[in-house]
């Protein structure tokens, strides 16, 4: 079952990369980010029964870190990888449920589900922020081996490349 999820999440992330016109040379890397994020989420939430919000948070932290490494390595804007990793975590199914509850006038269930949707969305954003902080720490350590002649020196910023 996990293997199936691995394969499927890889291809869905690649599909998304194509929709957003990502460069051809980073397609499989985008797929990998999507796969890693999704497998962390599925592993935690479905196999180990971790709270879904916590699972999303951890998955998006991992997505952020992996994206940062790949963006550095392949000299590509980080949004491409972030995007591929974040999309599967977006609580699409749950917002659908919330909306369906509204449609059938079950407002209690709708509000409860809606609140979870909001929490999960917040967890995704928070995860990206946490990973950015971790990345700042990593960046201040040592990534010299990936640097090349094109690197700009002495300009500190959020930029990843």
């Amino acid at each position: 079952m996990l293997i199936e999820q691995l394969i499927v999440s890889f291809f869905s992330a690649v599909g998304f990369a194509i929709i957003f016109n990502a460069p051809v040379r980073v397609l499989w890397q985008s797929g990998t980010v999507g796969m890693v994020g999704w497998i962390v989420f599925v592993g935690l939430s479905r196999v180990y029964d971790v709270n879904i919000v916590i699972a999303t948070l951890l998955a998006s932290v991992i997505v952020g870190i992996v994206s940062q490494i790949l963006a550095k390595r392949f000299r590509t804007p980080i949004i491409i990888f972030n995007l591929a990793g974040i999309i599967p975590l977006v609580p699409g199914g749950m917002s659908y449920d919330a909306m369906r509850f509204f449609v059938v006038n079950d407002y209690d269930a709708a509000i409860a589900t809606g609140a979870t949707v909001a929490m999960i969305s917040g967890a995704i954003a928070l995860g990206l922020i946490v990973s950015e902080i971790i990345n700042q720490l990593i960046r201040n350590m040592n990534w010299r081996k990936y640097h090349s002649e094109y690197d700009r020196k002495g300009v500190a910023s959020l930029d990843t490349d």
């Binding site: 194509i18 957003f20 949004i79």
Partner: protein
């Protein structure tokens, strides 16, 4: 004269990036770096999702570009990024840089439309499996996802009203999901709709909003977050209308 050409190159780079879905902090950063590489040390730059302002220093006249149409082409963003890296390394003159940027701007989209639609469909099928649908629903989700994404693209071209294309696309999507259920009963319509709605989700806006807010670009971040929320609501409303009728 040289100053003017530098300004043009900076604004062109910013314009291409903004039109194709880069974060605003990246746009300002890239423009600053290009300006510095050409010796404009104190350039003042401000980018929002709809406009870019650029001045060579605090007292010189401000130049301005207005962006009306935005698309998503991350390949172009990535190309402008690498051009700016070359400029920073001192490998391109102002004229060469301008030519390269114009070349990038004139490029057509990286993937043909049919491939994007096919990719959207395939991703829909995969999402259905990811959200615990069965393999029976894989193929229907692909078809419904392709219909949904194709109708969003075509409505975007026809309608100039924001968010309405997403609304209509999700109405079509939900309708075709019900059609599929009528032809082949016993499938779980919820899983099909959830999977095939995913390509419409404003993923780029969400990521950009978070990243812009984190970089301190509050105006851009909040604007994009609002756009993302409204798009999501439009999609939800579209599906809800169909559910209201058929449930």
């Amino acid at each position: 004269m040289k100053q003017e050409r530098i300004t043009k190159v900076c604004l062109l780079a910013g314009e291409i990036m903004l039109k194709n879905g880069a974060e605003t902090y990246r746009i300002e950063d890239t423009m600053t770096r290009i300006a510095q590489a050409y010796g404009v040390e104190d350039a003042q730059i401000h980018a929002t999702p709809t406009a870019i302002m650029f001045a060579e220093d605090m007292t010189s006249p401000t130049n301005f570009v207005r962006i009306n149409v935005r698309a998503t082409d991350l390949d172009k963003v990535s190309k402008v990024n690498s051009i700016s890296r070359h400029i920073s390394a001192g490998k391109l003159t102002v004229k060469e840089a301008r030519e390269k940027l114009l070349e990038v701007e004139a490029n057509s989209e990286t993937y043909p439309k049919w491939l994007q639609i096919a990719a959207a469909g395939f991703a829909s099928g995969c999402f259905t499996i990811m959200f615990q649908g069965s393999w029976l629903e894989f193929l229907p989700a692909i078809i419904v996802g392709m219909i949904g994404y194709y109708s969003m693209l075509s409505f975007h071209e026809v309608l100039k009203i924001r968010f309405f294309a997403e609304f209509l696309a999700s109405v079509f999507l939900a309708l075709s999901a019900f059609l599929v259920i009528m032809i082949h009963s016993g499938l779980d319509i919820d899983k099909i709709i959830i999977g095939s709605v995913m390509p419409l989700v404003p993923g780029l806006l969400i990521t950009n909003a978070v990243r812009d807010l984190m970089a301190g670009h509050l105006v851009s971040g909040i604007t994009k977050a609002t756009e993302a929320i409204l798009t999501a609501l439009a999609i939800g409303a579209g599906v809800a209308v169909v559910l209201l009728v058929f449930y």
